[in-house]
Structure formats: C-alpha cells, structure tokens
Amino acid sequence: MNGKEKNTENTSAHAHISSYSEHFGTWVALILLTLMTVFISTFGADLRTLTVATAMLIATVKALAVALYFMHLKYDAKIYTAWMIVVMALFVFFLIMVILDYITR
C-alpha cells in the first residue's frame, strides 16, 4: 500500500477492540453450552422428538455468539450483518427446496 487515504465503510479509527472479559465471557458461555449438549444426550434427559431440535437450538446460539463477539459482527458496519442474513437465508432456501422435492417425490 502506498499509504493513500482509502475509502472504508468503517474507518479503522473506529475499529472496536473487544475487552478481555468479553472474550472470556463468550468463551465460558460456549463451554457451558457444550457441556449442556453433552449432558442432555448422555444423561438421558428424555426429550424424545425434541432431541434434535434442542441440539440444533443450542448449536445456533453458539454460532451466534461466535459470529457476534469473536467475529465482531456486533461492532461492525450493519452491511456485514445484512450479508450474513442473506447468506443464511440462501442456505435455508437450499434446504427447503431439497426437502420439498424429497417429501413430494
């Protein structure tokens, strides 16, 4: 780079530096959620049909925590959140269409 002023959506001057405690807190939350998943499956909390749903729910919360805090989505320009949502929506659409085909075949 030749040091010219560059266009940036969020100039580095405003870049967020997460605190140590915030990182640590996120990490603890992730560990707890992992323990919860393991606990539910091995110690026979009998959720029956909800087993998969529960596991997915916990996994979703964990993914969100990683995206928001570790990957800084919470502090970055809104456009990145928008892109993230678009990408997730696409993925959901892929699943819906493939499943639609499968169950109506």
Binding site: K4, K6, N7, T8, F93, V98, L100, T104, R105
Partner: protein, 539 residues
C-alpha cells in the same frame, strides 16, 4: 491526444526473468499469467471440440471409438468450464483492471492473488494428469453425475479433485475482489461512481464466494463414496442420486452467472466508449447485476426436470427461472438505449460487444425454452441444450472475453494490433460460430441426443453444416491469436487513450507503471460515463 509527459518504466520493465513473473505480487502481471494459462487451455479444449465435430461429420465411427469420444467431451467440458470460462474475465481482466479502474495500486491481498494462480496451475495439472495416469480421463461428462461417476473405472477421482482445487482458486479471487471493492476505492468514489465492470465483478465475486464451497463439498462426497464406499448418492448402498444433482446445480447454475456477469460488465464498458455517450440507466445496470446474482441462486432445479424430481419442486423452479430473464432484459434494453443517438464508432471491440448481445439473446431465449417445464421434457439432453449453452458461454461470455482483449489490448501492451486483420478475425468468428451452433438447435428439436459419437442418417445434413462451421470458427480463432501476438510484439505504439475512454484506466500511461498511477487519477465529473460532448470526440 498529445503526450508530453515523460513515461515511467512500465510494469513490464520494472523486473525481468521468469521468477519475477511466477512469484510476482503485481496484479497486472498476475492477470497476464492468467491470460497465458487460460488462453492455452482454451486452445487445447477448442482442439478437442474440433475433434468431436470431425467425428460427427459422418454417422458411425470415423476417427475415435465411442469410449474415447466420451472422454473427449468430458475433458472438453471440464477444461472449458473450470479452466477457461469461469476464471476467464475475472482472473485476467478483473485482476489487471479492477484496481486501476478503482484508482488504487493493487488488490487487497496480493499474496492471496498469487496463491490463487498457483492453485489454478495445480488444478490444471491434476486435470491433465488424468491423461497419463490411471485408467484415462473421466467419461462421465463435465457434470460427474452419480451414480455413474461412482462406478466408472476411469479416473474420476483425480478429475474431481482438479475441479475442487480450481474451486478454491476461484473463491480466493472472489474474496479478494470483494475486499478490494469495499476498502480500496479511490477517495471520492462511492459505490455509485464505480465503473460498471467493477459492479459486475462485485456481483460475480459474491457468487464465487458463496456458491463454490457447495461444489467443493459435493465433489469430496463423490471421492468419499468412490474411495470409502460411503452411501451418499448410489441407491444400491443407500444413497440418493437426485441429491447429487441438487448439490451439483446449486453451484453450477450460479456458476453460469460467474461466466455471464463479468461479460456483461465488459459490454457495459465498451458500449459507452464507442458510442461516446453516457451509459443509459447506470443504476439499472449496476443493480441488475446484483439481482441476477441473487435470483440465480433460486433456479438450479431447471437442470433436473427429467431427473425424477418431484412435480411441485419442478414447478417452483420453472417459475423462478423466468424471473432471471427480467434483470437480463433490463441490461439489454439499457445497452441498446445507450447506442441510440450516440456517435457510434464501429471498432473491433464494439463488434464483439454487439455480437455478445446477439448471441446472448439467442442463448437466453433458448434458455427460456429449456426453463419452461413442459418444453424441456422434450429437448432435455438433446443438441438443443448443446446449442443453447454454447450460445451463452461461447457466443456470449467467450465473445465478451475476446472483446475485452481487443478493447484493453493497447492499455496492456502499449501497442495496437492490426485492425483490418482483427475485423476479418471477428467476421470469421461470428459467421463460424453461428454456422456451427445454430444447426445444433435444430438438430436438438428434431431429437438428436447429446453425448453420442454416432447419430441416425436423417441428421446427416445439419451435422455436415455444423462441422463446416467449426472450420470457419477455428480459422477465426487462429487469425485472431496470430494477429494479437503480432500486435503485442511489433504493433504500432498506442497512445494512452486510443478509444477516448473516460474510466480511470485511460488516465494512466500504456502499459501502466508498477503502481498504476504516477499522480492521483481524477474522477470524471458527474459519474464514470459522463462524456463531455459526443460531437467533440477527436479521433
């Protein structure tokens, strides 16, 4: 145009030697590395295409066995798709011109850029190694449909890994361009002051980034099934072959827009320059690129109407397919409106752009025939499809690539090719192309199936015509390539702005210096295509 400024050493002159090229971090040199590698593979695969046309000159066996023919069309398809047309415009002209058009000195991640070229070479070596190792190149078609791809004795694993590696190369290019466009635009250039080529690359890059991983994992699934016998796609071990087709086309339909969008971006550059007129509907063209990229994700099932997919799913996909036509038509109308009352200067690049519109229209409209559920059932897997996708990928994207070569040639090499010869080459290409592929559309409607080395006698006449066309076509390719090489080696010196363009690449010298600009480029007042006055064009 008078130039009194002292020329800086160009990016060609700054360093010499093989290593200064293959380990370069300069986006312009990487673009040229890509140009030579991609160009080489195009010629190889075109040779295979000619070979197939020769075999098809007469019914029955002429030159090659049925099995060889199957391997030839597979290799032809794999090279043309993964080694030629998908990387083509972004990797060559995107690399070379995106940073210059944004007024900056390189892409955001130069090392990643070099790495993506090396991945390309590695993938190419994998693809070619199937010729010498194992049981010969794959015979599955470029689509690697399961369960056949899981069962055939040919070298599918290596071919599939080649496509996997090439996918990574493509992802890295896309990532690089997205970050470059977001972060490195010259001060004062908002998104809506970007050239339309940059917009097109932006939309393309998102497809490369988001869709390519899907094919990556799908291809690995084939390897897992072949090598470890995991039942994913083969019904005899519990798999679902239609699942393969879903996964494959979730990538490969958007991939069509990886080919088409950058081509449209080029047309959007060439047309205002040679009409010396502001582009009509800048925002409509820019945003329709994004719309095409987006809608393109929802239509993959139109490749699967006859696969045994469910009726309701097929209907949804058919309807969605028709929506893609809307943003595409928006572009075509805006290009034509730009030409209207412009002071049109018919030069070779413009001819290629116009040929793009003509061929792409045929490709697009035949696409609607295929997207219509009921019609597709009749023409699926016939030569109608072969005609259709050559119109889109070759007559469309390929011609735009050639157009870009002729448009930016003086900027890249600082020399001009022989324009008369270039016109001749264009005429041969255009006539040859249409003579080769239009008969295929008719043959398909008459019921000639694709992917066979033989056909019924009633199809003979049109096949002769098509093969004859392929000879004109190949003559055009040879004349064009020789003319460009001759121009690069000993053509007349070109000025820094031979076409009177006003996007930023025309403000720097030809060829550009290592850091692209020796002084900050000036953004034209009132947008990237605001030509001062059509009548003052001086050339």
């Amino acid at each position: 145009m008078s130039e009194t400024v002292v020329q800086q050493p160009s990016f060609f002159q700054t360093k010499k030697g093989l290593f200064s090229w293959i380990f370069t971090l300069d986006h312009k040199r990487i673009g040229i590395l890509y140009l030579y590698s991609i160009g080489l593979f195009f010629l190889v695969a075109a040779g295979l295409g000619i070979l197939m046309r020769l075999e098809l000159l007469n019914p029955g066996r002429d030159l090659i066995e049925a099995q060889t023919y199957n391997q030839v069309f597979t290799l032809h398809g794999v090279i043309m798709i993964f080694l030629f047309i998908i990387p083509s415009v972004p990797a060559v002209f995107g690399n070379f011109f995106l940073p210059i058009m944004l007024g900056t000195d390189d892409v955001a991640f130069p090392r990643l850029n070099l790495f993506s070229w090396w991945l390309y070479i590695l993938g190419a070596l994998f693809a070619l190694s199937t010729l010498v190792f194992g049981d010969g190149p794959a015979d599955t078609g470029w689509t690697f449909y399961a369960p056949y791809s899981v069962k055939t004795g040919t070298n599918v694993t290596t071919s599939v890994l080649a496509a996997f590696i090439l996918g990574f190369s493509s992802i890295l290019t896309g990532l690089n361009f997205i970050v470059t466009i977001h972060r490195l635009r010259t001060p004062g250039m908002g998104f809506n002051q970007m050239p339309l080529f940059a917009w097109a690359l932006y939309a393309t890059s998102w497809i490369q980034l988001l869709a390519t991983p899907v094919i990556g994992i799908t291809l690995l699934m084939i390897v897992a099934e072949r090598v470890f016998g995991i039942g994913l796609f083969d019904p005899s071990i519990g798999g679902d072959p239609i699942l393969y087709q879903h996964l494959f086309w979730i990538y490969s339909h958007p991939a069509v827009y990886i080919m088409a969008l950058p081509a449209m971006g080029i047309v959007s550059e060439i047309i205002p320059t040679f009409a010396q007129r502001t582009i009509f509907g800048y925002k409509a063209i820019a945003y329709s690129s994004m719309a095409i990229a987006f809608v393109g994700y929802f239509v993959w099932g139109h490749h699967m109407f006859t696969s045994g997919m469910s009726g309701p799913a097929a209907i949804v996909f058919s309807i969605m397919t028709f929506f893609v036509a809307i943003p595409t038509a928006v572009k075509v109308f805006n290009w034509v409106a730009t030409l209207y009352k412009g002071s049109i200067d018919i030069q070779v690049p413009l001819l290629f752009a116009l040929a793009f519109i003509f061929n792409f229209l045929i490709g697009g409209l035949t696409g609607l025939v295929l997207g219509a559920l009921a019609a597709d059932v009749h023409v699926h897997d016939t030569y109608f499809v072969v005609g259709h996708f050559h119109y889109v990928m070759f007559g469309g994207a390929g011609f735009a690539f050639f157009g870009a070569l002729h448009y930016w040639f003086p900027k890249m090499w600082g020399r001009m090719y022989n324009k008369k010869v270039a016109n001749t080459a264009f005429a041969l290409l255009f006539i040859g192309f249409n003579t080769t592929y239009f008969p295929m559309l008719i043959l398909g409607l008459k019921g000639m199936p694709r992917r066979y080395y033989d056909y019924l006698p009633e199809f003979h006449d049109l096949n002769i015509l098509s093969t004859f066309g392929s000879w004109i076509l190949v003559t055009g390719i040879i004349v064009m390539v020789i003319n460009l090489f001759a121009g690069g080696l000993k053509g007349k010196n070109a000025s820094s702005n031979p076409w009177n363009g006003i996007t930023l690449e025309w403000q720097t010298q030809s060829p550009p210096p290592l850091h692209n600009f020796d002084k900050m480029p000036e953004l034209p007042e009132g947008g990237p295509y605001n030509y001062p006055n059509a009548k003052n064009a001086d050339h």
